[in-house]
Each structure stands twice: as C-alpha cells, then as structure tokens.
Amino acid sequence: MRLLLGTLFGLAVAAWVGLGLTYYSLTHGTAFGGLSIESWTAWPKSGTTDADPYVRASIARTGRLPTAMGDGVSFTLSSDDDGKALDGRCEVVVSGITPTARFWTLTLYNPDGALVANSTNRYGFTSQEIVRRSDGSFDIVVAPRANPGNWLPTGGVERYELVLRLYDTAVGVSTKAGREVPMPEVAIRSCP
C-alpha cells in the first residue's frame, strides 16, 4: 500500500513538473538562441533547419510560419526600453532608424498574433509609407487616439506586441548586438 501510494505520488510530481515546465517554456517564449537588441528580440535560427526543439514546439503550438532565413528576420517587442509592458491605452513612441534592409514592416498584434481592430484599418507601416526627418530617422506614435505624423492605432487593447520584420537584410544568425544593428528606441510618452 505504501509502495503504491509512494509511486503514485512520485508519478504525479513527475507529470506536474514535466507538463508545467513544457507549458511555461512555450507560453513565455523562453527559447534559446535569441538575438536581443535593446528590447527587441529575434530568433534568426527559427527560420533555419537549425531551429532547436523549443522553437519548433513553439511554432507548432502557435500555428504560425516562421520568417525563413533567406527572406528576412522578425524582431518582436512586448515591453518598452525600461521593461514596462506595452499597454494599448498609453502613447508609445518608436523612434530612430532600423538596420539596413531592402524593406521593413512594423505591425501591431495582440499577444495571440491577431491584428487589432481600429477605425482606420491601419495595422502597421511599411518602410515606404513612413514620414521621415531629413536625416532619415522617424517617429511612430503607437496610441489609442489620432496623432499627427505616423500614427499606429492600438484600438485601446490592454496588451500588444510590435513586430519589426526586416526583409532582404544582412542581419541574421551571425549578427551580434552592436552599432551595425541600430534598432528604434521605444519610450512611453504618456499614460492615462
């Protein structure tokens, strides 16, 4: 009896620990080999056959197709430069320049990867649509209410993610964070 109880207890601990770890690692994006530049993170290896089991499992769970290496690299942002989570009720400014690429797109998603409904049907910007300063830098205001310039509406959602995709770029597996890869800065301007 004691042996049976003990075995059952041990197996219960195993199931709880094992499945709990799997769930946590796949929902919190704790994959290895990420390339973090400021608050942006990319997994360039996820677009290659070198993708590790965690990346593969996370891709299968979410149901997305990763950006392939020869196509581009996608950087995800879920918090500002101070580590505060992005809130759709705040005004957030994304400013600066991007690494060299033929084209880039910046898109706003909810944490499940769906686009966010808004009155203007704008879900993102491409590098060609952006209004820039004379030195080539830009400001994108991510806010619930209309703003002059490059306004990306949040629809007032509580949490969102920004995805910056660089197409036909030299940024990749061998890239190290540094001067060659200047990522735009992200700062909260105001919060209600």
């Binding site: 601990v13 997305r64 950006t67």
Partner: protein, 200 residues
C-alpha cells in the same frame, strides 16, 4: 519517513524533466493546429492557393504580415518532382520552403533569383540523384531545391509597399504556379552513326 518523501519528490522531479523534454520533442508531431494543419483545410495538394488577407476577425495563421499578398502551395513529392514558377512584382517577392513540421529549410527572393521570374524545381534527395547528370549541366540555369521531407509547404509572398499596390502584389501571387512534372518518357537508345562512305 521524511527521507522517503524527499526521495520520492526528487525522483518525481527527475522523471518530470524527462517528461518535459519528451513532450517538447513530440509536440510538433502531434500538434493539430499548426500551420500545415490549418492550411490543409483550404489548400489542395500541388496547386497554388491565394490566402485571404489577414483581418482582426479572421486570419489563416497568426502573425501574418498584412503588408503582403500571400499564397501557399502544399506539396507532395511522392508523384515526382515539382515545378514552381513565380513572377516577380515591382516591390519585393519571396518564396519560402517549409517541411511538413513547419521548419523553414530554404528561401529565395526576387533579387537573389536575379530575373523577372523565379523558376525552380523541388525534389527529394532521391529524386535529385536520379536526374541524369548531363541534363543537369545543360539546364545549368535551372535551380534545384532539395526537400528534406516528402510533403511540405511553399509560401509565396509579394510585398505591397503601399496599400495601393496591393492589387499588383495579389496578381503576382495569383499568377504563380506549382505542379508536378510529368515523368519524361524514356529516350530511345541512340543509334550508332552510320559509317561515312569512303570517298572514291
């Protein structure tokens, strides 16, 4: 008593580690909602199917880039190699190859292709080995991609740099084709040349 429970917990945690690794590795093979499964519902095998643009209410896959017109070709190489042709739009066009388990193994864009049309043959390693060598040399401009799996996905995407150019991007993607190659009939054995008649 305490030692006994401590040992049980320790054993459970160690076993839990194994369970964790096993589930992570098995997950891609058991996922029922991965990209391939989602696309299987709308994309027949070996034809190009344009994907509807993602909207907040509905999207075929999460994290699709709304600036792109996209199409997929879900392939099955068991009937023979696949021929893919994608015209190039004015913006940016790319073709990415994924295995059955959504691992990207190859991608090419319009600039890398260097022509007005991206044209390539997709085949398994075994099928590539069967291609006669002389044929491969004569068709040197023919790009051959080897698929690590028999089935998989090809994602064809064209960028609309401005919303007004979405029509152009959509027509680019719609004009692309993927189809199984008809196996070539065996060539008749070459006849020996007739010996030249000796001149008188």
């Amino acid at each position: 008593m305490i030692v006994r429970w401590a040992l049980l917990i320790l054993g459970g945690v160690l076993l839990g580690g194994i369970v964790h690794l096993a589930t992570v590795i098995i997950l891609p093979r058991t996922a029922t909602q991965d990209a391939y499964a989602r696309l299987s519902l709308i994309a027949p095998v070996n034809t190009v199917v344009a994907l509807p643009a993602p909207t907040p209410e509905k999207a075929v896959m999460p994290f699709m880039d709304p600036a792109f017109a996209s199409a997929v070709c879900r392939y099955d190489l068991s009937q023979g190699p696949l021929k893919l042709t994608v015209p190039v739009s004015s913006g940016y066009t790319s073709v990415s190859f994924y295995t059955r388990y959504d691992v990207a193994y190859y991608a090419i864009n319009d600039r890398a292709a260097g022509r007005r049309i991206i044209e390539l043959d997709l085949m398994t390693t075994a099928q590539h080995d069967q291609v006669p060598e002389d044929e491969e040399v004569t068709a040197a401009d023919r790009l051959i991609v080897e698929s690590p799996t028999l089935t998989g996905l090809i994602a064809i995407r064209a960028l609309a740099p401005e919303p007004g150019l979405m029509r152009v991007a959509e027509s680019t993607v719609a004009a692309s084709k993927c189809s199984t190659q008809q196996p070539e009939p065996p060539r008749p054995p070459a006849r020996p040349l007739e010996p030249a008649r000796p001149r008188k």
